[in-house]
Symmetry: none
Subunit: 241 residues, 2 copies
Amino acid sequence: MEQTNENKKTILIVDDEKPIVDILVYNLEKEGYKTLEANDGLTAVDIALSQKPDLILLDIMLPKMDGLTVCKKVRATLNVPILMLTAKDEEIDKILGLELGADDYITKPFSVRELMARIKANLRKTDARVATNEDSEKGNANKIEVGELQLNLDKFETKVSGEIIDLTIREFEVLKFLASQPGQVVTREVLLEKVWGYEYYGDIRTVDVTVRRIRGKIEKDTANPKILVTKRGVGYYIKNN
Amino acid sequence: MEQTNENKKTILIVDDEKPIVDILVYNLEKEGYKTLEANDGLTAVDIALSQKPDLILLDIMLPKMDGLTVCKKVRATLNVPILMLTAKDEEIDKILGLELGADDYITKPFSVRELMARIKANLRKTDARVATNEDSEKGNANKIEVGELQLNLDKFETKVSGEIIDLTIREFEVLKFLASQPGQVVTREVLLEKVWGYEYYGDIRTVDVTVRRIRGKIEKDTANPKILVTKRGVGYYIKNN
DNA sequence: TATTTTTGTAACAAAATTGTAAAAAAAACT
DNA sequence: AGTTTTTTTTACAATTTTGTTACAAAAATA
């Protein structure tokens, strides 16, 4: 709903019943998700591994390869949340085996509303994991210091010579990426991929503008930057002496 | 509240179906629990009494001694939360009727997500009990203090500059979670998972509204919060200077 | 020096985020 | 049961951030 085209979450729907798939596609796209479809197990694995969706809706009863195997195969290489669709009267053991490998399950018939809620919740869980794992939890010293520049990754706080600087997230992320490898010149392409995300297809000069904004906040003289420096013809880097 | 490697919670899994045990072990350890296994009722009682796990996952159908008896025996000497696994709905009456002291039950098939939620919820209950009994009995005032903010965890009482503020449970829990790690910016996703719970399916903006209500009670000027502050693009945190 | 390429910059437009109130729903309490 | 309190959802406005563009300035090249 609030997602731009670039970072829509992708959901892979695996079901051989066309009308069900259609309903799911309609509702998911209305909610702002991008959808992929697979009508049998083999195709499902293919698409999952090549497209790397953010979540998989997986029916148990499938042609060519059953849901259990799909689940296993996908899980072997991808850590994507899998939400199983099960009919109520399917064999208990079969379901049980499957359920335990999946993150969540929902029995048919289900309400669209409930399904959407489950999807949201499962996607959120991934987001939360990424946020905490990457940043704190692992006991990493959550600070980066380069010369007069200090970044506190827990507080998202930036200091220059002890003075707190108010950066936006985008600015902070760029600075964080550069400061994590001081001296290393980073191209705009790499910055776009690492900070903006690999599927981002905006203008590359966006990087320049963001750098300019950061400089406006951390440099005394933006025309003669001492911290975030340009390597002409290549990109930008943080001076580390 | 977060678990360090040394005091991981231990969970005893009692089930005679090897594949199920394996999957449970895998998922529980992924979530940071230590696991013990028992394949029959007799062994289960032995391990429970000697190892004193923090929680027991107990299947009803077991060789040598059935789950219900195991439950009784263990409960006779240990006050550990027991989560029963049942295959059929009819067995629920059995569990409830017999007053075995099982804390919770979950019917097969269940999802990993649901099981984890139940486990967490039951462990939380114990934590709460322990907190109130052990800490307050010893006279350790169970408090969090950050600047002008004081939380008394035993009394569920909040003070700002010495003045008692009346918060609801939800409000208190949010404030408590944030205040337990002042300065640390917490995303809405993490708050939802930690305060509302693993199984929560609601809207993420609920967090905003709760924060707003807390501010209405603890801040002089909600438009310029000095205690519970927004980190735009990330989440919320408690200012700790 | 003139030309081309690259980078800096400001201004505007678009998009995303947050604050807020109020209605609806759910839970707790009589 | 009905009533009150708490919580969630929803919608909208205000604000902030971000992206795009056009042009200027600087550096590199011929």
